[in-house]
Amino acid sequence: MLLQTGFIYFATVIVVCALMVITRKNPVHSVLFMLPLFFHVAGIFIMLNAEFVAAVQVLVYAGAIMVLFLFVVMLLNIQKERVRPRVGLKWTFTAPLGLTLFGFLVAILVRSQYNGTQGSFTIEAVKQIGNSQAIGQVLYTDFLFPFEVASVILLVAMVGAIVLAKKRLD
């Protein structure tokens, strides 16, 4: 019962924040609404026994990505949206579209059976060694290759950010 109440709290905050993010006129407000959303998603992760991912969520999303966003928004002095009628018109189309899509997704996903191959990481097993260790174990064995690719992706991001955003020297 406690868990259900917790879920409902987290889910409500997430959905409300998400709606605020996409409806604010001022991008700074949108970015600020993103922050509680990230924390509450981390809360959901903890409910699902994924403590390590929850921690990374807070560190990477709330700590790094959002700060970057805020930094850029402030730096560039990005204005509010000006063209209201056009936006208003579009909502009348996308809001029903979003609702229909939601109904459609839920109808399909909830009605499906999830009896996929079960893994060996039962809650008890994970509790014994700890979530971080469990992730670490698979990350450097089963997922060694994607891990290496991810490191190259970060390198590319670094190179790209410098190439694109660096002030021209000449």
Binding site: I22, A50, I78
Partner: protein, 100 residues
């Protein structure tokens, strides 16, 4: 115990909000944030499945998605800065995304 379907519904809701945001907003930053919403909905879904399947795969995948999201944020914001240097607006009003 919270049933899996609740998590699925939450994820679907965030996903749809993100899609609606991408399709209806014109401000680049907000479109970008909507894409982050979509990625978060995927993360919720993956962690939920991972929990109910007793598998670590989903959580590790979320880890990778976060890494990619960080890289995307860096590049996306760099592109926005480059654009800003040429033109002092970051509305997508003039940059029509859906033109064909």
């Amino acid at each position: 115990m919270v049933p899996l379907n609740w998590y699925i519904a939450l994820s679907a809701a965030v996903f749809c909000i993100g899609v609606a945001g991408v399709l209806s907003r014109r401000n680049i930053i907000i479109i970008f944030l909507s894409i982050e919403l979509i990625l978060n909905s995927v993360n919720i879904l993956l962690v939920a499945y991972s929990h109910f399947l007793n598998s670590m795969r989903g959580q590790v995948f979320v880890f990778f998605i976060m890494a990619v999201a960080a890289a995307e944020a860096a590049i996306g914001l760099a592109i926005i800065i480059a654009l800003y240097r040429n033109k002092e607006t970051v509305l997508t009003d003039e940059i029509n995304l859906m033109k064909w």
